[in-house]
């Protein structure tokens, strides 16, 4: 297993300005519990401790803000400890939408796909993050696709599949479709100046 995280990397990530709501860390915890059980959580916590940035997932408060570096450190540690591929990270994103308390705050807008995508999605982003910006680019209900842009959010490439999954998860609740595909079409880590996600459903 290739080492994808070390103390230096984490230290660097911790230098990034910006915060994120504890809910994203709680959804990580829920996913590991589901997939690996309590022992899995302990493994991740141990690894983070070794890296000098311990997290006690149980003590994380959903609505509190935490350093964005810690959120990326959690995801990278999980990926390394369990050797997760991008698909697993994508699934974590999908899973997070189902467990997130903040998403539940937006449920009242879910009767309207357009409202959620066009009006509420930037707010939802801001409810989670103090950095970056979510911009709805296009919604075509007839052709059944939506394009979302994420600007100023160059934390780590691991977050790209996670976000793709996250957007797919939200679409799951908005459209009654079992076939939803979400992919990153532009990436700031691959030469673009922002991230762009195309979400399609059938």
């Amino acid at each position: 297993m290739a080492e994808i995280i070390n103390k230096e990397t984490i230290d660097q990530l911790m230098q990034i300005n910006g915060e994120v709501r504890g809910v994203v860390l709680k959804t990580d915890e829920e996913y590991i519990l589901k997939e690996k059980g309590r022992a899995g959580i302990e493994q991740v916590e141990q690894k983070l401790k070794e890296l000098g940035h311990p997290i006690k997932y149980e003590e994380i408060r959903t609505m509190d803000f935490y350093p964005v570096g810690l959120r990326i450190a959690s995801l990278l540690t999980i990926k390394e400890v369990f050797d997760f591929n991008d698909k697993e990270i994508y699934n974590m994103g999908v899973f997070a939408t189902k467990m997130s308390l903040i998403i539940k705050l937006f449920v009242k807008y879910f009767p309207s796909l357009r409202r959620v995508v066009i009006n509420e999605s930037p707010k939802m982003w801001r409810k989670h993050w103090t950095i970056g910006e979510l911009i709805p680019v296009e919604l075509n209900e007839k052709k059944k696709y939506a394009i979302l842009m994420v600007k100023d959010f160059d934390l780590h490439p691991i977050y790209c599949p996670y976000l793709a999954g996250y957007f797919a998860g939200i679409l799951h609740m908005l459209v009654k479709s079992l076939k939803i595909d979400s992919q990153e079409t532009k990436c700031s880590f691959k030469g673009a100046s922002y991230h762009e996600f195309l979400i399609k459903w059938r």
Partner: protein
């Protein structure tokens, strides 16, 4: 400025704490609810579930959140439910089929209520599910129990019909019987009388049903029957004769009716023996007339032979005497047989009445024994007469009849005891009765024939070859004589070893009717 920022931060921290507390409270409340609850979007997507729902659906929240409601409900039913809820605001207690993961379908009752935002717009609806499996199970059990009861009822009706048919059949049989039947219940009240019994007793059942034997006595024609069966209805009556009229005679028998060991009543059977009795009487009359008619010429023959043997009709040769003696003895046997037949006919006609006098029995017995002394000697049989030293009380005897009875018993002992055998006659008595026994060391009576010993014309299979003489009437006559004296007669026998016949004569107080023999 710095103070202001610090205050804002404190307020935000407080709000964050409140929010966290509120979150925990909502979680706890949601988790606590034992009723499975989920929240459905207006387009029918599951947005939230509680632990009770996870348990009933056998699905984790992440497996069902974001999924269409059709994953757990029937598509058409789910559509109607969503539509009705959104239109009417709620649905209460609608029965639906619920499909938990990897489990059998579950009958459930659902409750819904729409959720609206602050502007009154519907944002989805809550769905509560109540498991009806237990109730449905109980319903099914009740339905099955109802079906079972219906079946039992049908079976009972069929059984009742069958029982009624059986009862009708039995009733028909009872009605058609040639015997009369009276059935008394356990309290001895008449429960049933068949037409034949009505006919015999010349009474209608309506007059008798529900009455006891005491009540029977109020009917003249039933008095004798009431006396015979007794107030408590004797259970051991067997073919007791009941003479209704000169030509109408019934045999009455009683049988206890039981179920298991419990007596439930008594059956009285009235069997018409009138015809048999008439035939028997005619037969007896015929035998009586025949015997009388025969006795006169045979007596004449006897006296003629006697005269010839005595030489009154002239001298006869030794050879002629020998033939005449044989003829005389044969004639004597014929006279004895005719006498026996006449005695039997008298017994059967009820004319064989005892004429008792107070007499001593020992001399009577001695007289008979003396008449057999020669015979004992001739047959090389030793005999002994054991008498008590003290004098026995006199008893009422028809001396001639007792002589005959004793003679018939001792005659058998002599005839059926082989040479060198032994016959012991004993006489003893107490305050109540005198008992006579005749014990021989003869051939005995076959066990299987013991029951018939006192019957008319009975002769043991083992003695017929030994002694061709004998009418088979002796013990029948003896029994009737003893019983007409109020005594009893019985025997014990051991085939090949001997037989002991015993009889008793009761010692009764002298009454005016009894007379001293002169």
């Amino acid at each position: 400025m710095a103070i202001k920022e610090s205050l804002e931060e404190k307020k935000l921290a407080l709000l964050a704490d409140d929010l966290a507390s509120l979150e925990n409270y909502i979680h706890d409340l949601f988790d606590f609810s034992p009723l499975p609850i989920c929240f459905i979007s207006p387009i029918g997507v599951v947005l939230e579930v509680n632990p009770a729902f996870e348990a009933i659906a056998n699905l984790k929240s992440y497996e069902v959140i974001g999924e269409p409601i059709e994953k757990i409900l029937k598509k058409d039913e789910a559509e109607v439910l969503t539509k009705t809820t959104l239109e009417q605001g709620s649905v209460e207690g609608k029965e639906m089929v619920f499909f938990p993961k990897a489990k059998e379908k579950m009958f459930s009752q659902v409750f819904t209520k729409v959720r609206k935002d602050e502007k009154g717009e519907v944002v989805g609806y809550f769905l509560g599910i109540f498991d009806l499996t237990g109730i449905k199970g109980t319903e099914n059990e009740l339905r099955e129990a109802q079906m079972a009861l219906m079946n039992i009822l049908e079976d009972s009706q069929a059984a009742r019909k069958e029982a009624e048919e059986e009862k009708d059949k039995t009733q028909e049989i009872i009605n058609s019987l040639t015997d009369g039947l009276l059935v008394f219940d356990r309290e001895n009240y008449l429960a049933l009388i068949n037409p034949r019994a009505e006919e015999f007793l010349s009474i209608k059942k309506g007059e008798l049903i529900g009455k006891d034997v005491d009540d029977f006595s109020s009917f003249e024609q039933l008095k004798n029957l009431a006396t015979l069966i007794g107030k408590d209805i004797k259970e051991d009556l067997f073919r007791q004769e009941l003479k209704l009229t000169e030509d109408s005679i019934l045999e009455i028998s009683t049988v206890p009716l039981t179920t298991g060991k419990t007596k439930i009543g008594t059956l009285v059977i009235l069997h018409d023996v009138s015809r048999e009795k008439i035939i028997e009487r005619m037969k007896t009359e015929f035998v009586s007339i025949s015997a009388h008619q025969l006795r006169t010429p045979i007596s004449a023959i006897k006296w003629t032979l006697k005269m010839m043997l005595d030489g009154d009709l002239g001298a006869i040769t030794t050879e002629q005497r020998e033939f005449l003696n044989k003829t005389y003895r044969s004639n004597e046997r014929m006279i004895n047989l005719i006498n026996d037949l006449l005695n039997v006919t008298r017994i059967e006609e009820g004319r064989y009445l005892s004429r008792p006098f107070l007499s001593e029995i020992a001399p009577v017995l001695q007289f008979v024994i003396n008449s057999y002394k020669e015979e004992f000697k001739k047959r090389l049989i030793s005999f002994k007469f054991k008498k008590p030293k003290r004098k026995l009380p006199r008893v009422l005897l028809d001396v001639e009849k007792i002589k005959l009875a004793f003679q018939n018993i001792i005659d058998n002992a002599v005839k059926y005891t082989p040479a060198k055998g032994r016959v012991v006659i004993s006489l003893k008595g107490n305050d109540k009765e005198i008992m006579v026994s005749v014990k021989d060391s003869g051939v005995g009576i076959p066990k299987e024939q013991e029951e018939r010993v006192f019957s008319k014309f009975f002769r043991g299979a083992n003695v017929v070859k030994m002694e061709t003489d004998g009418s088979g009437l002796g013990l029948f006559i003896a029994k009737n004589i003893i019983e007409s004296h109020g005594g009893k007669i019985w025997f014990k026998s051991n085939k090949g070893k001997g037989t002991t016949f015993c009889f008793t004569v009761p010692i009764k107080k002298t009454t005016k009717k009894s007379r001293k023999r002169t």
